[in-house]
């Protein structure tokens, strides 16, 4: 067991950010960690951003990660990934889904959506590295259920941690809606394969 692990999730409404962070919380608890999770999602159904903190440790006090302490950033949307460099710990890894959802000011032509390179340099200025992942493309291939990309990213994350794949799979199966179980299991394995290839 590690001393502590802090995971920061970022996305926009409808991407399954909350589901993915629930699964990571569940895995932590089942592996014997104390777990806390906190999220802001008030406006998510109306196109707003979603942010979620998950913390594993022997004893977790704060439900919020302290700035400079996140070990992993899991971002389901590229612009949302770029908002959180101040939370990244030295040596941390950002797993970023290659997917863009335009905010209103970009739709109206008033502001520019940042380039991939720009996002990468924002994040590597604080953390260790950015791993770009074709989670959205994989989700389309698998059946285009909007939350699948998140589970693909969890498959990738699972290969970077010590907890057995079995535990992750059980948590995915138990937390996703019953009728999408098979699809999500496929998405999880697709993520593990993606990690092996990268």
């Amino acid at each position: 067991m590690r001393k502590k692990l802090d995971f920061l999730f970022a996305g926009v409404g409808g991407q399954g950010t909350i589901l993915a962070s629930n699964i990571v919380s569940e895995v932590g608890m089942r592996c014997g960690y104390d777990v806390k999770k906190s999220e802001v999602h008030g406006m998510s159904q109306r196109g707003g951003a979603v942010e979620s903190h998950v913390r594993w440790a022997e004893k977790v006090y704060s439900p919020l990660i302290e700035e400079g302490n996140a070990d992993f950033l899991l971002a389901f949307e590229m612009l949302e990934a770029a908002r959180w460099p101040h939370f990244l710990a030295p040596g941390s890894v950002a797993l970023v889904n290659i997917h863009q959802v335009m905010p209103p000011s970009v739709n109206l032509g008033q502001e520019k959506y940042p380039e991939e390179k720009e996002i990468e340099s924002i994040l590597t200025g604080a953390g260790d590295r950015v791993i770009w992942l074709e989670g959205a493309a994989k989700a389309v291939e698998l059946g285009n259920h909007p939350t699948l990309a998140g589970v693909v990213l969890l498959g990738v994350l699972s290969t970077r941690l010590d907890e057995p794949a079995e535990t992750w799979l059980r948590a995915v199966e138990d937390l996703v809606p019953a009728k999408f179980k098979e699809l999500n299991v496929k998405a999880f394995w697709a993520g593990r394969e993606m990690a092996a290839g990268s």
Partner: protein, 590 residues
Amino acid sequence: MKKIMSGNEAFAYGAYLAGINVAAAYPGTPSTEILDNFSKYSGVYAEWSTNEKVALDVGIGAAYAGGRALVTMKHVGMNVAADSLFYISYTGMKGGLVIINADDPSMHSSQNEQDNRHYARFAKVPMLEPADSEEAKQSVKAALEISEKFDTPVIIRTTTRLSHSLSIVETEDEPVAESLSEPVAFERNPVKYVMVPAFARQRHPVVEDRLKKLAVMAETTALNRIEPGDDEIGVIVSGVAYQYAREVFPNATFLKLGMVYPLPAGLIKELAGRVKQVVVIEELDPFIEEHVRLMGIPARGKDIFPNIGEFNPGLLRRCAQEAGLISAPVQSTPAVSVPQLPGRPPMLCPGCGHRGLFYALQRVKALVHGDIGCYTLGSAPPLSAMHTSGCMGASIGVVHGVDKVGVKDRTVAVIGDSTFFHSGVAPLINLHYNNGTSTVIVADNRVTAMTGHQANPGTGSTLMGIESPVVKIDELARGIGFKKVDVVNPYDFKTMVDTIKDHLQSKEPSVIVAQYPCVLYKRERKPALVVDLEKCNECGNCLRIACSPITKVEGGVSINAALCIGCGFCATICNQGAIGLPNREGGTEQ
């Protein structure tokens, strides 16, 4: 067994375990999920009342008759319910009454920040404050015990960060608490329950005496505890701030309060005696700090930590370092700056009927006195069609005042259906009674959408999922005496504009019900629309309706098919006929 639960799920579970049998609430972030969850347990009664005061009176009735009642609300809901809070403090009740009040520091989803610990002191009732989900679960039973033992309502205070954080809860609890042995029955006892001055004067000393007894109890209850540490700093803290403080001051001595009113003077003195310096860490107002200072203890608090917004560990650490309470890191890593990036403000959903109404109001250049709900998003650019919004139910009184002072403008009030049932009916009667001239538009999407689609009197069902009669707003207005009342589909753009113009010209007070069911609730989806770039003349009309699937591109606009739900409003307002359904040849069909 262990289960990960949000604070609100844990409150609901705790209420079930405590044997609460009647629960009433009006939704409000961050309190809503408590009743959403509680209503799913078997054998309980739960309802969405029309507003917080009604909810509290319902809970009081149940408790008067010997039941165990729960009432929940967000912080501003307590303002609405306050009148009832003050009488129930005097009368007490036969059964038990627990009120869960959710404060929202940082205003994640509120119109103001307020520290409702003041209500405990104001109404002279005890208040508990749990610090995680396990404590949230336990707090309901603890509150109920105090309520029944001391004949007092008990408030549990939560905050957004507790209600919406998840932590591990033990679920191998004692079975549901025994229901009261006596059968429920109302005991007629006017001296206790009829608060005419003569009887109320007899009750006030009872209340003061009760507070003294509660203060004694506060010294010994397991809710408050001293956690030993070194003798440098003694931290007094409660709620989720305890969790942050534990990380920033790992070695300090703590007085962890689970009951924040009345405060335990003895424990505070004991802590002060053990340490060189007392520091009070509390979000919003210096509620505990002032009490400690009045005791003659030179505590620090708001000179170090802000009285605006919610705390987090990083903020506490920076404040504590600046004040010299903890040492700064030897090797300071360079601060990472937060980049300037396009924001992602909330918008009306694709297909939301409110869009048709606000685009029409913008077009007729109306001066709009608004209210609170999803439709408040009509104030944001590019719609920019709402000019005041204060608290629930304010719109109708405000527009009447603006009209009475003699402003010659195209004034209207816009109020949502749930908001109208909450606090719009009395001002509508006032408008009619006082010979008003204003136009009131009810943005009626048949559900309480903002807080996550709770049923309301216009929905046709209840929180328990039972069918219920529908209150028709147009009939209600006619019943009051309004003669000019119209029901319009806001996506029928021409009729909407014409109706607003007609009502604005009229001298009599009038009501328009702009009715279109909430798209998120109904979940109807039609084929996405497409743009014919050859016909598009880049006038920008469709960009002014603030619909997220519509994006500006080279030579016109495009519509994101994954986000569009096919409501067709953009096609209605396009002067060029450039937007339509896709036809087989790849062009558009009107």
